[in-house]
Amino acid sequence: MAVALVALVPVAYLLLRTGEAGAERVVEIVWRERTAALVLRSLALTISVTVLCVVVGVASASILTRTDLPGRRFWTLVATMPLAVPSYVAAYAWVSTFGGAITGYGGSVLVLTACTYPLVMLPTMAALRRTDPALEEVARAHGRSALGTFCTVTLRQARPAIAAGSLLVALYTLSDFGAVSILRYDVFTRVIYTSYRAAFDRTPAAVLALLLVVITVAITVAEARSRGRAEQAKVGSGVSRPPMRAALGPRRQVLATLYLAVVAVVALGFPVVSLGFWLLQGRSAGTGLDRLAGAATSTLGVSALAAVVAVVMALPVGILAARHRTRLVRLTEHASYAGHALPGIVVALAMVFFGVRVAPAIYQQVPLLVLTYAILFLPAAVGVVRASVALSSPQGEEIARSLGHTSWGVLRRVTVPLAAPGIGAGAALVMLTCMKELPATLLLRPTGMDTLATRLWTHTSVDEYAAAAPYAATLVLLAVVPTLLMSREHLTRPTTISLEPS
C-alpha cells in the first residue's frame, strides 16, 4: 500500500494540476483533433516496437540460456549493453550517418527496438533459467520435437516474464521523447513537451500526461489479462535441476552467432562506432574530460542506490501480485506502472512540487533523486519480481510455514531465494535505465553533481559532439557492471533451500 501511494505521487500531482484547469479547459485540450491523431500514432509506434522487441528479445534469450553456443557469457554481456545506450544518442548516431533516410516511423521503430529489446530479453532469460525441465521431459517423452517442446511448453512457462518485459517496452516507447524528436516522428509526448517548452504552460501538459496514464492503465490491464490464470509453477515435489540446453550443430551455431552479431552491430556496434567518429571529427575532443571520473562515480552510486530502493519497493508488490490477486493488489500493481509511462519531465516536476513542500531538507539532494528514480523505474523491478515469484510453487511456502516459519522467515528463506534470478534481473534493469536518465536528474540532482547523462547533455546541447563522446562511451562501458552483477547472481543461485527453522 505504502509503495502504491509513493508510486502515485506523480498521478496525484497531475490530478491537482488538471483540477486547476477546470472541466471546460480539460475537454478543450483533450478533444483537439490533433490529440487523437497523435495518440493513434503513439499507439502504432508502441505496438510495432513491442512486437519486434518480443521477437528479438525472446530469440536472444532462448539462444543464450537454452543452447550450448560457445561464448554465451560474452554474448549475454553484449546483448544487454544496448540498454545503456540512451535512445537519443542512438537516434543521433543514425540520423547523423543516414540523414533523412532514417527518419520517421521506420527509423523510430528501429532505434527504439534496438535500445529496448533487452527489457524483454533479461526477464525472459531469468524465467528460462528457472523453468522446470521435468515438464519439458514429459513433453519430449510424449513425442514432441525439441523445438516444439520449447515453443509449447518452455515459452509458455516464460510467458509472464515475456509479458512483463513487453509491458516495459510499451511504456518506454510511449513515454520516450528524445529519440522520436530527433527522428522527427511526431507522437503524443511531443505535445506535452511543446506545452512546457514553447507555451510555458503546465496545464495542457498535465491534462495530456493524465491521458497517457489512462492509456497506460488500459495497457497494463490488458497485459494482466493476457497472463491469464495459468499456473506456471513447478508441479510435484523435489528440487529443480538446471535447465536443459539444446546441443546446436556447427551449422546452427554459426547461424545463432550470426544472428546475435547482427543484433549487436545494430544495437550497440553502430552507436559506438559513431561515437568514435564524433571524436575524430570534432575539435572539442578532450575538453571537460577532467570531470569524467566524478560523473562516472556518481552515476554508478545513485543508480545502484536506486536499484536497491526500487527492488525493495517492488518485492512486496511483486510477491503479492504473484500470490494474491485481490483487487487492492491489482490496483497497487497497476499504480506502480504510472511512473514509467510518463515522460521523465512530468515525474520530475511532480517530485519538485512534492519535494519542496513535504521534504525540503532532501530537496535537490541524493535521497529525493533516488526516490524519483525508484518511482520512474519501479515497474521494471515489479514485473520481473512478479514473473519470478510466479514460477515457484506456493507449496514451498506452505511447507515452510507448516514447519514453523514466520511470514518473514518464509519470505527470507523461501520466496526471495527462489526468485533471486528475477530480483537480480530487476535490479540490473533499474540500474541500467537510471544510468541514462536525464530530465529528472537535471531538476533534482544535488547542485553541482554531474552524472554521465548530464555531462552528455551539456556537451550535445551546444553541438560539442566530440567532447560528449567519452561520456556516452563510458555510459555504455559501465553497463557492464550491473550486467555482470546479474550474471553472478545466476551463478551463485542456491539450488537447494534449507527449510529447518533457524
Binding site: A2, A198, R283, A348
Partner: protein
C-alpha cells in the same frame, strides 16, 4: 537478517513518505514560505543560487568570474530554460533559487506573469535599451541574437542576395527548407510576423511557407547540421549557432553559411537571453549584483567574444567574430513586450499545420 532489516527500514521510509505526502495534500499553502526556504538552506544562507537555462559550456567561465564580483559563494544549477521555468513555477514561494538566467525571453516572461520575479532597480538596467527589458522591470536582456537564414553554399548560393523571408517563398525551395517548429525563437519570429504584418499577412506567409513542405527539426542546431550536410538547402535559425559548429568542425569545412536579412524584415528579428531576480530570494542584494555583473563591460565582452552574441550595452563589439552590432540592426528591434502573444501564435501555427 540483513534482508529483514532492509525491508523493515524501507517499509518505514515508504510509510513516512506517504504520511508526509498525505499531510500536505490538505494544506499545501498554509505553511510559512520563509520557514521552508530556511529549512532547505540552513547552512547555505550565504550562498547565491542561480538557475541557469544557458549551457554550462557557454556561460560556465563567466559565471565563475561572477562569484568574485558578487562577493558571496555562488552555486549554479544548469538545465533547459523551459524546464527550469516549470520547476520554478512548481517550487512557487519555496524556491531556493535567487536568480534565473534564461536562454530566451519567453521563460522569463512566463515567470513575470506569475509574479515570481522581483522588480529590478532602475540603476541596474539603465544601460539596456528599453525595448530589451520587461516593461514592468522584472527582467532584463543580457545578450541578443539575430534570426538569420543559413544556406548551403553549393546548393543555394543565391541566398546571399535575399532581403526578406519572402524570398524563400519560391517553388524551387519545396522540401528544401529546414526549421525548428517547437523552438522558442522560431515562434518569436512568427509573433514578429504577426505584429509587423497583421494576422492576415502572417497567415498568408505561413500558408505559402507550409505549402513548400518545410522539413521540421528538433532544434536550431539540428537545422544548421542538416544545411551543412546538404540535407536541406536553407534553414531559419539564430545567428550564433553557426560559430560553435564552425569552431567544432573548422570554418574551412563549413558548407553552411549564414546570411543576415534586411534589418526591417521580421526574418531579422532580434531575440534575447536575459535574467531576473526571484521575488522569494533571501539574498536580493547579491542577486541584483549578479544581474548587474551580467550587464557589466566584462560580461558583455564575454558574450561578444565567446558566444558570438550581440552585446545589449552600447560600446561593446566583438574582438573575435564579425557579427555586427545591435546598433546596425535597428529595424527589427521590435519591443520584446510586444512579443508576448504566444498563445495566438501557436494557434495560428496549428491552424496552418506547422505545429
Amino acid at each position: 537478517m540483513t534482508l529483514r532489516r532492509t525491508l523493515g527500514a524501507l517499509a518505514a521510509v515508504a510509510t513516512l513518505t506517504t504520511l508526509a505526502a498525505c499531510g500536505t495534500d490538505d494544506a499545501p499553502s498554509s505553511t510559512d514560505a520563509g520557514t521552508a526556504a530556511a529549512d532547505a538552506a540552513t547552512d547555505e544562507d550565504a550562498t547565491l543560487l542561480i538557475y541557469s537555462g544557458r549551457s554550462e559550456d557557454l556561460v560556465g567561465p563567466l559565471l565563475a568570474d561572477l562569484e568574485a564580483a558578487v562577493g558571496v559563494p555562488v552555486e549554479i544549477r544548469y538545465a533547459d530554460s523551459a524546464e527550469l521555468a516549470a520547476q520554478l513555477a512548481e517550487e512557487g514561494d519555496r524556491s531556493p533559487a535567487d536568480v534565473f538566467f534564461s536562454q530566451d525571453a519567453g521563460a522569463l516572461g512566463a515567470l513575470a506573469k506569475a509574479d515570481m520575479l522581483a522588480d529590478l532597480p532602475e540603476d541596474v538596467t539603465a544601460e539596456v535599451p528599453e525595448e530589451l527589458r520587461d516593461a514592468s522591470g522584472s527582467w532584463v536582456a543580457t545578450s541578443a541574437r539575430a534570426r538569420v537564414l543559413v544556406y548551403n553554399d553549393e546548393q543555394a548560393p543565391e541566398v546571399t542576395g535575399f532581403d526578406s523571408v519572402d524570398d524563400l517563398l519560391d517553388e524551387s525551395y519545396a522540401g528544401k527548407i529546414g526549421y525548428a517548429p517547437t523552438n522558442a525563437s522560431w515562434q518569436s519570429f512568427v509573433t514578429a510576423l504577426r505584429v509587423m504584418r497583421g494576422e492576415d499577412g502572417a497567415e498568408q506567409w505561413l500558408t505559402q511557407f507550409a505549402a513548400l513542405d518545410p522539413v521540421a527539426y528538433e532544434k536550431n542546431g539540428a537545422v544548421l547540421q542538416a544545411v551543412n550536410d546538404g540535407e536541406v538547402a536553407v534553414g531559419l535559425i539564430n545567428h550564433y549557432y553557426w560559430f560553435p559548429l564552425a569552431a567544432e568542425l573548422g570554418e574551412e569545412n563549413m558548407a553552411a553559411q549564414i546570411h543576415f536579412l534586411d534589418a526591417d524584415d521580421p526574418g531579422a528579428l532580434i531575440n534575447v537571453a536575459g535574467a531576473g531576480v526571484l521575488a522569494t530570494s533571501d539574498q536580493p542584494d547579491a542577486a541584483q549584483a549578479a544581474v548587474s555583473y551580467l550587464l557589466s563591460q566584462d560580461a558583455q565582452q564575454y558574450f561578444a567574444d565567446e558566444t558570438a552574441e550581440l552585446p545589449v550595452v552600447g560600446g561593446v563589439t566583438s574582438s573575435v567574430y564579425d557579427v555586427g552590432s545591435l546598433d546596425e540592426m535597428t529595424g527589427a528591434r521590435l519591443d520584446l513586450n510586444d512579443l508576448d502573444s504566444l498563445p495566438e501564435t501557436q494557434a495560428l501555427l496549428e491552424q496552418v499545420g506547422l505545429l
